[in-house]
């Protein structure tokens, strides 16, 4: 069936919203898209435009519906085939916003097989596509971490922070040096991402580093850096590394003496009580 005919199953706004929608017709269209394979997928992506440059409500709806419907237990073959077809369109000449939309669908249905195709955009600052790429890879899971490591080595500007955060999301203990290095950066948010990364990997050997940095920071930086110290202490408690947790709680208790930080002192007191 002609792709444009298939897409007609999806609604156009009726009084601004998609109130007139035929479930069975849409489900049938999804099955037709899956059966149509990579040719149909590419034809649908061809009908998607940069926002404001064309009418594409139906193809966007259809592509997303299919990305969703190929997920779930027992559908692995269909999901892999659809994700592969979708990722193949990322090499075509298209506006970055369209590729961003495709990547967001891969966030829903993609697998490690699509990692390389998505990772090409991790360092690309145009149209926030690096964020979409990072979020898709993070959703796909820890197997994508090598893409973040490679990209971080060459990333500049806004993508660098996003990639560093991605390494933290994926709890990459091999990025310990990158997290430590980030703490020396002049930009507060990069420093915080470094501290957060060390907390995420529960790095017991960096307890002193986190505590020292939390004291160097002021204002928002101090609030967040201290929070990461306390979260690290809880992680260390959970893994039985009580010495590290005790060091954090004792330090917080000793150093947070201002009236507006007494909640930190109390939190440290509770932590110490748990360790007894």
């Amino acid at each position: 069936m002609n792709t444009k005919e298939i897409l007609k199953a999806f609604p156009q706004p009726d009084g601004k919203i998609l109130r007139t929608i035929d479930k069975e017709a849409c489900e049938k269209a999804v099955r037709q898209i899956i059966a149509g394979g990579s040719k149909t997928v590419r034809e649908i992506v061809d009908l998607i435009f940069e926002p404001g440059k064309g009418e594409d409500i139906q193809p966007r709806h259809a592509l997303h519906a299919t990305a969703i419907r190929v997920g779930g237990y027992g559908k692995e073959k269909k999901r892999k085939a659809f994700a592969s077809s979708l990722a193949a369109t990322l090499v075509d000449e298209r506006h970055k916003t369209v590729k961003g939309f495709v990547i967001r669908q891969l966030q829903v249905c993609g697998g490690i097989e699509q990692g390389s195709a998505i990772a090409k955009f991790l360092t690309d600052p145009d149209e926030h596509i690096y964020e979409y790429a990072a979020q898709a890879l993070e959703a796909i899971g820890p197997e994508t971490v090598s893409h973040f490591r490679k990209a971080y080595a060459k990333a500049k500007g806004a993508p660098r922070l996003t990639i560093l955060q991605g390494l933290g999301v994926l709890e990459d203990s091999e990025s310990k040096a990158a997290f430590r290095d980030a703490i020396k950066h002049k930009n507060l948010e990069i420093r915080l991402a470094g501290l957060w990364g060390l907390m995420r990997i529960a790095s017991a050997e960096d307890v002193d580093l986190l505590l020292a940095q939390s004291l160097k920071e002021s204002g928002w930086g101090r609030i967040k850096a201290t929070a990461y110290c306390l979260e690290l202490a809880e992680k260390l408690e959970a893994t039985g590394a009580k010495k590290g947790a005790q060091a954090i709680y004792s330090n917080i208790k000793k150093t947070r003496t201002a009236k507006n930080e007494d909640h930190l002192l109390e939190s440290a007191d509770r932590g110490l009580a748990r360790l007894k």
Binding site: P13, I17, L18, R19, D22, K23, C26, E27, V30, P51, G52, E55, D56, I57, R60, H61, L63, H64, A65, I68, R69, G71, G72, Y73, F101, R104, Q105, Q107, V108, E131, Y132, A134, Q135, E138, A139, L161, T162, L164, Q165, G166, G168, E189, L192, G219, W220, I223, T226, A227, E231, A258, K259, N260, E261, D262, H263, L264, L265, E266, S267, R270
Partner: protein, 418 residues
């Protein structure tokens, strides 16, 4: 605030119970050597998110407390200025970025009335800065955020109250208290009750409009900060000012707008404040990637067999899987009925103001608010995914559905993270 003629601080903590659940117990400040603070203190307050629900949420924050507004914050500076003018004749400082507001040393209580995609990050940051929080419903935008809020308020011993209050009246209603006791007793092993919420979830009202071309960002609005933890999208005005409810990036349609009002009291009544459904079955057409849309019904079944059903009444067929029926003493043996009658009534729920003064847990505490928000999130995910979902309420993950799990904790845009 630090205007009290005292060297004492009002800040005290809420303790974590031995079971790990958030407890209603108070461990006063003097346990750790500091003197008790009388409840006559004046509190420094702020509102973050000054449009729409903002003024109403702020009023809830201040009920029964002696307060002074010290800050008004909104990504739209005009709104923050208007609120400061209206409530403090312009004395309260105006902020566009909540991070700067939370650095204030004279701030004790924060009302949060931003769109929901900001609720968790700002609630957590407020607790980290030592503040008590009253946060507009729905509590969060997705499941993992809620758990992070619960953990943060336990960590810092702060008071949190969700901005819905139906459970307070429920907890005083005799019939509801009886049902609460039956369900909380654990005596009802195979519960056949089905509670239906038909209509009232504003499906069409809060459906989004797809395909609107990007517009110029108004000068007074920090659009990047508005997007914050959600995926960045080009500005168009319907993504803000109330109609944000129709976009998955910020809320979850009428389900999330109204659901916490409807299901928070139900959750209390039926003793589900510390758990979530295990099976979620939807009837809905494929959803759009950006905007919320139509659905017919969702059935949410708990481990004990109890079911909540929501029926939109605005699209599709009516729910017909199970007959609607309530819980009653007749569901129990005579012996168990006597046990229920002998049970003491549950402790009264504390208002936010009382909880702040007494340093106890508020009635709409983080765990309860999170579990109520989960009802809506799980229902919405079933609608979006179009399939039956099996959920583990302890681990808070879907069972055997890796793609569905991606929606429980979607990655945030840097530098935002919970």
């Amino acid at each position: 605030m630090k205007k009290i003629p005292s060297t004492q601080t009002r800040r005290s903590f809420l303790a974590k119970s031995a079971t790990g659940a958030t407890a209603a117990t108070i461990l006063p400040r003097h346990v750790f050597g500091a003197p008790h603070v009388p409840p006559s203190e004046k509190f420094g307050t702020a509102l973050i998110g000054c449009g729409g629900r903002g003024p109403g949420t702020y009023s809830q924050l201040t009920k029964g407390l002696d307060v002074e507004l010290v800050g008004a914050c909104d990504v739209d500076l005009n709104r923050a200025q208007r609120f400061s003018q209206a409530r403090s004749k312009g004395k309260a400082e105006v902020y566009q970025d909540f991070r700067e507001l939370l650095e204030r040393k004279d701030l004790d209580l924060v009302a949060i009335a931003t769109p929901p995609h900001w609720h968790a990050s700002i609630s957590i940051a407020s607790a980290e800065a030592g503040m008590d929080v009253l946060c507009e419903k729905p509590m969060t935008r997705f499941v993992a955020e809620g758990r992070a809020v619960v953990n943060a308020f336990e960590r810092y011993g702060r008071v949190f109250q969700i901005g819905t209050f139906g459970r307070f009246n429920r907890s005083k209603d005799k019939g509801s208290v009886l049902k609460h006791k039956i369900m909380a007793s654990g005596l009802l092993k195979n519960c056949e009750a089905v509670r239906m919420k038909k209509g009232g979830l504003k499906v069409k009202q809060w459906s989004g409009t797809p395909g609107i071309p990007p517009q110029t960002v108004p000068e007074q609005l920090d659009w990047d900060l508005y997007c914050g933890p959600s995926p960045w999208k080009p500005f168009e005005s319907r993504r803000t000012t109330g109609t944000h409810r129709g976009y998955w990036d910020y809320e979850g349609g009428g389900m999330c707008d109204m659901g916490q009002h409807h299901f928070d009291p139900e959750q209390w009544t039926y003793g589900k404040d510390h758990t979530s459904p295990v099976e979620i079955t939807p009837f809905a057409p494929p959803s759009h990637p950006e905007v919320t849309g139509m659905w017919a019904w969702v059935e949410l079944k708990y481990a004990d067999g109890f079911k909540f059903v929501m029926e939109s009444g605005e699209w599709g067929p009516a729910y017909d899987k199970s007959p609607v029926r309530d819980v009653s003493l007749d569901d129990l043996s005579k012996k168990d009925q006597e046990k229920i009658k002998a049970m003491p009534d549950p402790e009264p729920l504390l208002s936010f103001g009382e909880a702040v003064k007494q340093r106890k847990q508020a009635g709409g505490h983080p765990e309860a608010a999170h579990r109520a928000a989960c009802i809506l999130h799980l229902a919405n995910l079933a609608i979006r995914l179009g399939r039956k979902l099996n959920y583990d309420p302890d681990k808070e993950v879907f069972v055997n559905d890796e793609e569905a799990n991606r929606f429980l904790n979607p990655p945030m845009s840097a530098p935002w993270r919970v």
